[in-house]
């Protein structure tokens, strides 16, 4: 029988993979994609909790919907910022976008 821990483990792995992406990728868009992975991990676990712990309550579904909304908004704003950066720097390589420091 596949129980809650299986899902939680999958979620944790996804979260770890996303975290890995955010700390290693140079491409700003790739970092953004990695963050999406992390959000997905949380969504998966929400539904797993619903399925195995609180099947009578509907919150997790709503949380996932809200999480999705936030992810969509985040993508829109993030990509707009990336566009502007690309216009000024001619690149989306984060290692070349480091004028502010110290």
């Amino acid at each position: 029988m596949i129980g809650l821990p299986y899902y939680l483990v999958v979620g944790s792995i996804l979260f770890g993979i996303g975290a890995f992406g955010t700390v290693t990728r140079r491409n700003a868009i790739a970092v953004l994609l990695s963050v999406e992975l992390m959000l997905n991990a949380a969504n998966l676990n929400f539904l797993a909790f619903w399925r195995f712990l609180t099947p009578a309550a509907m919150e997790p579904h709503l949380f996932v919907l809200i999480g999705l909304t936030v992810a969509a908004a985040e993508a829109a704003i993030g990509l707009a910022i990336v566009l502007n950066v690309y216009r000024e720097y001619g690149t989306v390589n984060l290692d070349q976008i480091a004028e502010l420091r110290g």
Binding site: V23, D95, I97, A98, L100
Partner: protein, 670 residues
């Protein structure tokens, strides 16, 4: 100690004592510049200077009235609170939880005494500054800061709670910073400002922690309250908020407070900022770094004397630090060539005497010395300022000499200051220094040693002051060829000198061992005899005689030693003036030789060593090192701010990982 708070008829105008200088500050700050522009330079400056001086002198007048009112009461009833806000009975300031701090002044002998000193001496120095600063382009700003300083200092002295005292404490620190830096243009001076800053921070943290500790222990910050639950009320009864006051608690609080006092009052090793602070204009040195602000530590210790009295170990430390600083700074003063630096180290040394008095439990004697020192040290600084003014800014004594001819008033008043600080019998310094030494001799088991070292320091004091006089006035003129012709200062600068000289002569008579009106006046704020047993191991007569002998010997030895330096015939007018002393010195030929051997050769080398290695090398180096190391660490830490998002993300994830892992492991272990 536990008298109830009285109602004073004069209470409704007590606010004006600090209030008037504040008004002066606001007026000059906002309209001073405009005034100078509209009235024209000369008239505008006169108006600004007069205004600044007038508010301080007016405060002095009010302080005198308050004193008279206080004297009408029985000694043990001389304690009252008064609102610091006009037309309001008590205005709350901070109310956090059960603790309430109000804008109240504590009117008692200690605070009134300090008000008189600050406004009296301060007023004279203001008057002096109107002449001294007359050519400065930032004239209004200078007086604005000056008035602000007087205000802050009065808040420090009058504040009814530790927190209000802290307000004044930080305020005077800020003004000192602003005024030291008043003439700063160059890098070197900026560094000096930094040093003053770092050192004072150490002290301020001590004071702040002391305040927090007393809050935790006594549950209040007021010194006295109507229901007898103030810090000093409780401490006098040996109580705390809960349970009796233990020696350990009293020691902790007083040690922290003493750290604060060390910073502000320039005690070893926190003394190093003071000589550097002399870069500011001379009136600033006289007012802040001699007469008033630097004595704030002594005032604070005296204010909290009930607590210190219950911490015998701390008292011993206070005495030891004071004595060491006194001797240490005196030896350094022997080696300085800048006239203001000599006086600066002399101030550090005299402050050491005051703390010696506090440590011996003779808080009254310490305050007495604060008072007389305010007179003669202000006098000496102003005199030095007059010399510098007359020489158009020259401060190096090696390029002075023979100045008595050109500036007679300055010379004679300086002469009185010299005699007073050296402890010439009958003058102000004689009585107060003797009182401190006499009580120091009564410190259990090591009293006589302390007395001996203290007496020796007094001798050194007389010697280096004589040296200063000799180099400045008695020796042959050594002015550079192209220098301006030395000239006497304007009357506005001479009048304060004359008044201070008079005070230096007679000011000590209020505290002679036979009719010590001064100490009786302060008695109500000091710990009672049941709490702290203070005695003098040396009989009055012997002590006074020894003191007189040491002073005269030092002055004579100095005069004799420095008589050789210049060729004698080049001192026509001035030598005559000091003829009696010179004759005495000549008769005491052995003193001459001894002084020569001990000081000019051996001692001189020792003093040079102290100045070069311990003071400049070690302590100074330590403070500089603090600055350098901090800056270095800051640079390293800032290197982490590499600008790379990936690096920032790594830091975040690593931080999160550490936080999570630590919490989970810790939970697992439980």
């Amino acid at each position: 100690m536990n008298a109830p708070l009285q109602d004073l008829a004069i209470a409704p105008i007590v606010w004006a004592i600090p209030g008037l200088p504040l008004i002066g500050f606001v007026l000059i700050m906002f309209w001073g510049g405009g005034l100078v522009r509209t009235l024209g330079d000369a008239r505008g400056r006169r108006v600004v200077g007069t205004l600044a001086t007038a508010v301080v002198l007016l405060s002095f007048v009010i302080s005198v009235f308050v004193l008279l009112e206080l004297l009408r009461l029985e000694p043990e009833q001389r304690r009252a609170v008064a609102s610091l806000v006009p037309l309001m009975d008590r205005m709350p300031w901070i109310e956090v939880g059960p603790v309430s701090v109000q804008f109240l002044a504590l009117v008692d002998p200690l605070s009134v005494l300090m008000c008189l000193i600050v406004t009296g001496v301060g007023g004279l120095i203001h008057l002096y500054a109107t002449g001294y600063m007359s050519h400065d382009r930032d004239y209004p700003r200078f007086f604005a800061y000056f008035n602000l300083f007087i205000f802050a200092m009065l808040v420090l002295c009058l504040g009814e709670s530790l927190l209000l005292m802290f307000v004044g404490w930080e305020g005077v620190g800020l003004c000192s910073y602003l005024l030291i830096s008043f003439w700063f243009d160059d890098e070197e001076n900026a560094k000096a400002g930094n040093k003053a800053f770092i050192v004072n921070r150490v002290g301020d943290v001590g004071f702040m922690l002391g305040i927090l500790a007393s809050l935790a222990v006594f549950g209040t910050l007021s010194f006295h309250t109507a229901d007898g639950r103030g810090i000093l009320d409780l401490a006098a009864r040996g109580e705390t908020l809960s349970g009796p006051l233990t020696v350990a608690t009293a020691s902790l609080i007083s040690a922290l407070l003493f750290l604060g006092a060390c910073g502000k009052s320039a005690q070893f090793p926190l003394h190093i900022w003071l000589p550097d602070a002399m870069a500011g204009p001379t009136p600033v040195s006289a007012l802040i770094h001699a007469a008033t602000m630097v004595t704030a530590g002594v005032v604070m210790v005296t204010r909290m004397s009930v607590l210190f009295a219950q911490a015998p170990v701390v008292l011993l430390v206070v005495a030891a630090v004071g004595l060491f600083t006194a001797l240490f700074a005196a030896t350094i003063a022997l080696t300085q060539t800048d006239i203001k630096k000599v006086l600066a180290y002399s101030t550090v040394s005299q402050l050491g005497f005051m703390f010696l008095g506090c440590g011996a439990g003779a808080f009254g004697a310490a305050m007495f010395h604060v008072t007389t020192h305010a007179f003669f040290k202000a006098l000496l600084f102003l005199g030095a300022g007059s010399v510098i003014h007359g020489l158009s800014g020259e401060q190096d004594m090696r390029r002075m000499g023979g100045l008595g001819r050109y500036m007679k008033v300055t010379y004679w008043t300086m002469l009185i200051g010299w005699a007073a600080i050296s402890g010439f019998p009958g003058l102000a310094g004689y009585w107060s220094k003797d009182a401190i030494l006499a009580f120091a001799s009564g410190i259990p088991s090591i009293g006589m040693f302390m007395y001996a070292v203290g007496a020796f320091t007094a001798f050194v004091t007389g010697f280096y002051m004589t040296r200063l006089m000799a180099k400045t006035f008695w020796s042959a003129p050594r002015l550079p060829e192209d220098a301006h012709h030395p000239h006497e200062s304007p009357p506005s600068m001479l009048l304060p000198l004359i008044i201070l000289a008079a005070l230096s002569v007679v000011g000590g008579l209020i505290g002679t061992p036979w009719g010590n009106a001064f100490e009786r006046f302060l008695e109500p704020v000091l710990p009672g005899a049941d709490m702290l047993h203070v005695h003098e191991a040396i009989p009055h007569g012997v002590g006074l005689a020894l003191g007189a002998l040491i002073a005269i010997a030092a002055m004579a030895a100095g005069a004799a030693a420095y008589r050789r330096a210049p060729s004698a015939e080049l001192l026509p007018a001035t030598v005559k003036a000091t003829q009696p002393i010179y004759r005495a010195a000549a008769n005491l030929w052995y003193a001459d030789a001894a002084a020569n051997a001990v000081f000019v050769q051996g001692g001189g080398r020792f003093a040079g060593f102290v100045a070069r290695w311990i003071d400049k090398g070690f302590v100074d180096g330590l403070v500089n090192a603090v600055g350098v190391v901090t800056a270095f660490l800051a640079e390293i830490a800032r290197g982490g701010q590499s600008g790379y998002v990936r690096f920032y993300a790594k830091t975040m994830i690593a931080g999160a990982l550490i936080v999570l892992a630590y919490a989970l492991i810790q939970a697992g272990m439980r």
